[in-house]
């Protein structure tokens, strides 16, 4: 039973991270008809931006509070990342650690939000309705901006700890509950609830739901749907960025291949859940997260195969996804 609870919490945490990436991808694909292969890069930039700003802010705070603290190893090339060793027995107050963590997350999400805005305005805007061009241009962005990460922060992986207040494990009975995983589940649930409220209670949400069905008809009732495309793309990007920022401390190191690996999972969720379906993304992510952890434990060699197998079954028997609608063109 304890193992089951442990597995469930780990799986839900993985699902929460996948959801952050898949939600934006699904709505962008469903509403704007854009197959965004650059989504993984946005995830990656969220991760690197978070790690860089976390280390940079923490270094300054620690050196201010403890002038005799020792700056340690540095990583990166153009932008360097430098850790810091606190004096023996010293700790930063909880509030300081919390603020450093939140500030780094805000930086990461803001960077990726702006990247999303710029990508949409410069590139995506020109290829609406032209799928081959979308694939080429978003793959191009993926390659260039992933390499840019290597140029800026170097090609080698480097470590990132979880914030001290999110480290640790609680043992309940025989279950081991990792605190950071519980935090991820809460963040995922909170974001899901917020998106759900925006979609169901606000005018923007109404327009997004209408746009998922037919952007042309939204235009014909006097709404500048292109403006909402930009907002949705930037917000979807920011969600991917948040996913990347929260992912790096989970795995404990920063590596430039993380974007592509997680993008594949997000695409599988979109296929399982259905295009443009928020509920599909949510349930699909949880399913994939829990199943992934279960398969990794019982049949470790088959974790990738299991995901692809599920996707293939859905494509065979319900091509529109479990909660999705038919694909339509748009302009």
């Amino acid at each position: 039973m304890g193992t089951l609870v442990t597995l469930l919490i780990n799986g839900l945490a993985q699902g929460a991270l996948i959801f952050l990436m898949a939600a934006g991808l699904s709505i962008i694909l469903g509403m704007m008809g854009v197959i965004n292969f650059a989504h993984g890069t946005l995830f990656l930039w969220g991760g690197y931006s978070y790690v860089w700003s976390y280390y940079a802010i923490r270094l300054r705070v620690v050196m201010n509070v403890f002038p005799d603290a020792v700056p340690m190893t540095s990583f990166g090339s153009i932008l360097t990342i430098q850790s810091v060793q606190l004096p023996e027995g010293a700790v930063l107050p909880f509030v300081a650690e919390l603020l450093i963590f939140v500030a780094a997350l805000v930086v990461a999400v803001s960077v990726v939000f702006v990247m999303g805005l710029v990508f949409e305005k410069l590139f995506i805007n020109r290829v609406y309705g032209r799928v081959p061009a979308q694939i080429l241009i978003t793959l191009g962005i993926q390659v260039v901006f992933t390499d840019l990460v290597r140029v800026i922060w170097g090609p080698n992986p480097f470590p990132i700890d979880r914030p001290p207040f999110l480290q640790g494990v609680s043992v309940v009975g025989t279950a081991r509950i990792v605190h950071y995983n519980v935090f991820l589940i809460l963040v995922g649930a909170g974001i899901a609830l917020a998106i759900h409220r925006i979609l169901t209670r606000s005018r923007v949400g109404m327009i997004i739901r209408a746009g998922l069905q037919s952007p042309d008809h939204v235009k014909a009732i006097g709404i500048n749907i292109r403006r909402y495309f930009t907002i949705v793309f930037a917000c979807g990007s920011a969600l991917a960025g948040l996913g990347g920022a929260l992912y790096m401390p989970l795995v404990g190191n920063v590596v430039s291949t993380a974007g592509m690996n997680n993008q594949i999972l997000a695409f599988i969720v979109v296929v399982i859940g259905g295009l443009g379906s928020f509920m599909g993304s949510f349930l699909g992510s949880i399913f994939l997260g829990v199943m992934g952890v279960g398969v990794a434990l019982t049949l470790p060699g088959l974790s990738v195969v299991a995901n692809v197998l599920i996707m293939a079954l859905v494509l065979m028997f319900r091509p529109q996804g479990l909660f999705g609608m038919a694909v339509k063109s748009n302009g």
Binding site: M206, Q213, S214, K219, I221, G222
Partner: protein, 234 residues
């Protein structure tokens, strides 16, 4: 007198295909004008051209003296054109209430009055106000589409084949509603159902193979069996 809507020698295209070759038409303020023609003649494309959903290559297209050519669709609509598309354009994932609210330019007292008016005009919608549009019948969807186009203070209402796919009893209801609407709103109606077209329209244009080929009063058209047979297959 300057017409409210003027189209002169319109040529429009979809991708590599020219659909309208030479369409000219005028609608005066307060008129109800019907566009008739066989399937594939270009009637729907003409309304889409007015809305900027299909590109204009040549010609003049003006609303109240100002050109619509090259304008984005949402700005054309904001100039005062209510559009009821052929496929209703109802948003399935929204409730009836949301379908009306999303179309409102603002939620001020006159707009809310117009909303109440359309709900009185189509009581079915009032009864199902909180229901999602995907649960509605074809007739109810058409009513919602017309109602949505009426919630703003538009200069003209474009209605594309409202009777398509509907049962005769629903078409009768719709004809009554359109007659009532046309008593206070300028209407340009595309319609294949001759009886509905005659019930609503005062003047007519016939489009054939992308060209306007005939115009006149509906009263004259009703008498002209030869013209009906030639262009409408009646």
């Amino acid at each position: 007198m300057q017409p409210l809507l003027k189209a002169e020698h319109i040529v429009s295209y979809i991708g590599p295909y020219t659909i309208l070759h030479d369409v000219s038409l005028e609608v005066q303020r307060g008129e109800a004008v019907v566009i008739l023609g066989r399937n594939g003649a270009g009637k729907t494309t003409f309304l889409k051209t007015i809305m900027g959903l299909v590109n204009t290559r040549e010609g003049v297209l003006e609303l109240d003296g100002e050109s619509l050519v090259g304008q984005p669709t949402h700005l054309i609509q904001r100039r005062g054109i209510g559009y009821v598309p052929e496929d209703y354009g109802v948003f399935d994932l929204l409730t009836i209430e949301e379908n009306l609210r999303i179309a409102m330019w603002k939620e001020d007292a006159p707009t809310l009055e117009r909303r109440d008016y359309v709900l009185d005009l189509f009581p079915d919608l009032k009864l199902a106000y909180k229901r999602f549009a995907k649960t509605l019948s074809g007739g109810q969807r058409q009513m919602l589409s017309v109602a949505r186009a009426l919630v703003n203070d538009n200069l003209i209402l474009l209605v594309d084949e409202p009777s398509k796919g509907l049962a005769p009893v629903i078409i009768e209801k719709l004809a009554l509603a359109l007659q009532q609407i046309s008593s206070h709103t300028t209407v340009l109606l595309v319609e294949q159902n001759f009886a509905l077209a005659c019930a609503v329209g005062q003047r007519f244009y016939i489009i054939n193979e992308g060209r306007t080929v005939e115009t006149g009063t509906v009263a004259d058209l009703i008498k002209d069996k030869e013209l009906q047979a030639l262009h409408l297959g009646i």
